[in-house]
């Protein structure tokens, strides 16, 4: 039956062809310490993932070559990991393609095939959820520097660590600011929250309401709308009628732009405007309607700050290399990266158990950080208890740090100006 054999051969060839390249893993330098990085390098969140990758490349260079200028930053002064006899760092990237299943697969590949000592990622909360579950079962430390979904640290995992501030931290910053303003004699008796009905919009609105309740700040109005709205005049008119002392917008870019335009058209200027991160932080938002929202207050875990500070130097390095400022998400990512490499160095070993113990013992001080966290220290659930954020205000084309006072680089300008 020669035809059968030929057909079988062909079939076998077809089956084997795509798997050939993986059977022979690429030869790697023996003495590097490998960390697996899972980020969205393609798909809907690719631009964020690529920016993070760029920041991590800078971070790797800082670890592997001497940067004596970056005083305080772990592993910057020397080459490689001093705790591991100067071994160098290698990042092993995998693309999660925006899919929880692909991310999970890549986590497995990085652990079982590439033998990474720790995993890092994965941007989208859903993918962080599935990838960290793999790490947990294999007993490999997983550090999540970006994902904010609350449930990630509610699973009782022992190998999961998160450095980023999450919902409650955001709410604490806003309400803390309100209380501070009240103390200084500003009248803030009524607060309106405007949010879309996505996970982001509803969850952030929820935690702000909770925190406000606890601190005795009254949320008098909650206006919701569907994401990617085409008209928000009725929402703006509702606000105008109630005229609250403070309006908090939780919106993605296109909606934030629409609100800015509609408020100008309907001539509505609340006394204080807070625009929560995403839409209000997007460079394209500032480009298109920055002139209409002067004085809008935003949150950020990172601001370049004053010359001479670690954050300023880090931003300068990034700017010099990529021709743009270090964005907030990449900054949080890079900060998490330095927490992880510091722990590996302190562990003095590539043994996952020792790295886990070192992560647990992490106690970093603000002087070692370039983000606005008060420190890095993990609780039993793996959440950083010292994460915090500062508030910034749009003045001209830039956001300037204005609160808390200690970290301010500019003065708070109230009431909200909007357009001139």
């Amino acid at each position: 039956m020669p035809n059968v054999r030929r057909r079988l051969l062909l079939l076998a060839g077809l089956l084997a062809a795509p798997s050939l390249p993986v059977i022979a893993p690429p030869a790697a330098a023996e003495d590097t310490v490998k960390i697996g990085v899972i980020e969205p390098l393609s798909g809907g969140a690719a631009s964020a993932g690529q920016a993070i990758k760029a920041a991590l490349e800078l971070g790797t260079e800082i670890v592997n070559t001497p940067y004596p200028d970056m005083q305080g930053l772990p592993l910057a002064a020397g080459t490689g990991f001093p705790g591991l006899g100067g071994r160098k760092l290698e990042l092993d990237y995998a693309d999660n393609q925006g899919s929880p299943a692909v991310g999970q697969n890549q986590a497995l590949r990085l652990i079982t095939q590439d033998h990474v000592v720790a995993l890092f990622g994965a941007y989208q909360s859903g993918i962080t959820l599935t990838t960290s579950a793999v790490a947990e079962r294999y007993g490999i430390p997983f550090l999540a520097p970006e994902s904010v979904a609350t449930n990630l640290t509610e699973r009782g995992f022992k190998w999961f660590f998160r450095t980023t501030p999450i919902g409650p931290d955001i709410a604490r910053a806003y309400i803390g600011f309100v209380l501070d303003q009240r103390k200084q004699g500003r009248k803030i008796d009524s607060v309106a929250i405007v949010n879309d009905t996505t996970e982001y919009g509803t969850s952030i609105a929820e935690v702000i309401k909770k925190q406000a309740d606890a601190e005795g700040v009254k949320v008098t109005q909650n206006v919701t709308y569907n994401v990617n709205a085409t008209d928000v005049s009725s929402q703006v008119l509702q606000l105008k009628q109630a005229s609250p002392d403070l309006v908090i917008f939780i919106s993605y870019t296109s909606d934030a732009i629409l609100y800015a335009r509609t408020m100008k058209n309907l001539d509505y200027r609340p006394p204080i405007v807070i625009g929560d991160d995403s839409g209000f932080s997007d460079p394209s938002f500032i480009e298109s309607v920055g002139d209409l929202v002067q004085g809008a207050i935003n949150r950020s875990a990172f601001a370049p700050g004053r010359p001479g500070t670690l954050s300023y130097k880090m931003n300068a390095l990034y700017h010099q290399r990529f021709g743009r400022d270090l964005d907030e998400t990449s900054a949080r990512s890079l900060q998490g990266f330095f927490v992880l490499v510091d722990a590996i160095n302190r562990a003095g070993s590539t043994d996952p158990g020792k790295i886990q113990a070192a992560l647990r013992a992490t106690d970093m001080k603000p002087a070692q950080l370039f983000t606005g966290y008060n420190g890095v220290k993990f609780d039993d659930k793996g959440q950083n208890t010292e994460s915090a954020m500062l508030l910034t205000q749009l003045q001209g084309k830039d956001y300037v740090a204005v609160w808390p006072q200690a970290e301010a680089t500019g003065s708070l300008q109230l009431p909200y100006a909007g357009w001139k």
Binding site: M1, A12, V22, P100, G126, E136
Partner: protein, 315 residues
């Protein structure tokens, strides 16, 4: 005889393959091949045999995936207990979607299925009860064997292979039965089939029900393995498109076509990532596109057709 022999050898090789791989990642890729083959073979019943190209099968996949984790969330039972619920829901959905859309032919039917699937995706991503935009998660750590949460990918592989075997056996039976000939007639020309007395609507619906049920089962198995589901990963249009591409690559309307397609596409998708991890991002999609182009241009019948054509020539 020779044909059955070939099939047997192929099956034996496929079953033994993951054992030989001895590498968890490759074993998992093999398990994913089986999973993709289940959903593509299920799609093949309506899309291949009956020629009704649905690009909305993510609805059934999603019904299965969501049911598994919803049952877990509500009752604390193992997620797999949600599989029958998922199948039931998708059968119901198949009736609701099938009856009106079957009046449409060709591209209009495909477009209607896309519309329904997108509609359901948007509703689900705003519906708090099913986790809205956050999604649902399975047991964080396995509580018992019934959670079907294994460290090794091998149990998944054999579980999926068993389900696939049942599905392919049913398909094979159907192919040789009256229903197989009816569906062939419908595929060749609905109006002609109708004029010859084929109960077109009844058989199209029957094929859709069978197809939807197994697609839902694939969805439940997916959710059990991955342990997380959200609107994009279970109801996204890429889920539907992948079933179509896999079946078309191997050969739509053939018994082993979808399995062959899955065995080529899934490893390709995973290895381009392994090879180019940081660098060649998006390469997977370029390869996908190239495959679609090449098939459409040179082998509209899929790769299995190539084998059959060779055999005919030798004979």
């Amino acid at each position: 005889m020779s044909r059955r022999f070939t099939a047997l050898v192929v099956v034996a090789v496929l079953l033994a393959a993951p054992l030989l791989l001895g590498n968890a990642f490759l074993q998992r890729v093999a398990a994913l091949v089986m999973l993709a083959a289940i959903s593509a073979s299920a799609w093949n019943l309506i899309g291949g045999y009956a020629g009704q190209v649905s690009i909305g099968h993510a609805v059934f996949f999603g019904a299965g995936a969501y049911s598994a984790l919803l049952v877990y969330k509500l009752t604390d039972w193992p997620p797999i207990a949600g599989a029958p619920v998922g199948v039931a829901v998708s059968l119901l959905l198949a009736c609701v979607i099938g009856l009106p859309t079957f009046r449409l032919r060709g591209h209009y039917f495909s477009m209607a299925t896309i519309a329904v699937a997108e509609l359901i995706r948007i509703v689900v991503s705003n519906w708090q009860f099913v986790g809205a935009a956050v999604g649902l998660m399975g047991p964080a750590v396995p509580r018992s064997l019934a959670d079907l949460s294994f460290l090794s990918p091998l149990p998944y592989f054999y579980l999926f292979a068993a389900v696939l075997a049942v599905l392919l056996f049913l398909t094979w039976q159907m192919q040789r039965s009256r229903m197989g000939f009816y569906l062939g007639a419908i595929r060749a020309g609905e109006r002609a089939a109708l004029s010859l007395g084929v109960p077109v609507l009844r058989y199209k619906l029957l094929a859709l029900l069978l197809s939807a049920g197994f697609t839902a089962l694939a969805g439940s198995l997916y959710a059990v393995m991955v342990g997380f589901v959200d609107a994009e990963s279970a109801l996204g249009i890429l889920i539907s498109v992948q079933m179509v591409i896999i079946a078309a690559l191997g050969g739509a309307g053939t018994l082993f076509g979808p399995l062959l397609g899955a065995a080529i596409l899934i490893p390709l998708q995973e290895t381009t990532n392994a090879l180019f991890g940081g660098g060649g991002t998006g390469l997977t999609y370029i390869v996908y596109g190239a495959i679609i182009l090449l098939i459409a241009r040179f082998r509209p019948g899929g790769l299995l057709e190539l084998l059959h054509w060779r055999r005919r020539r030798v004979a």
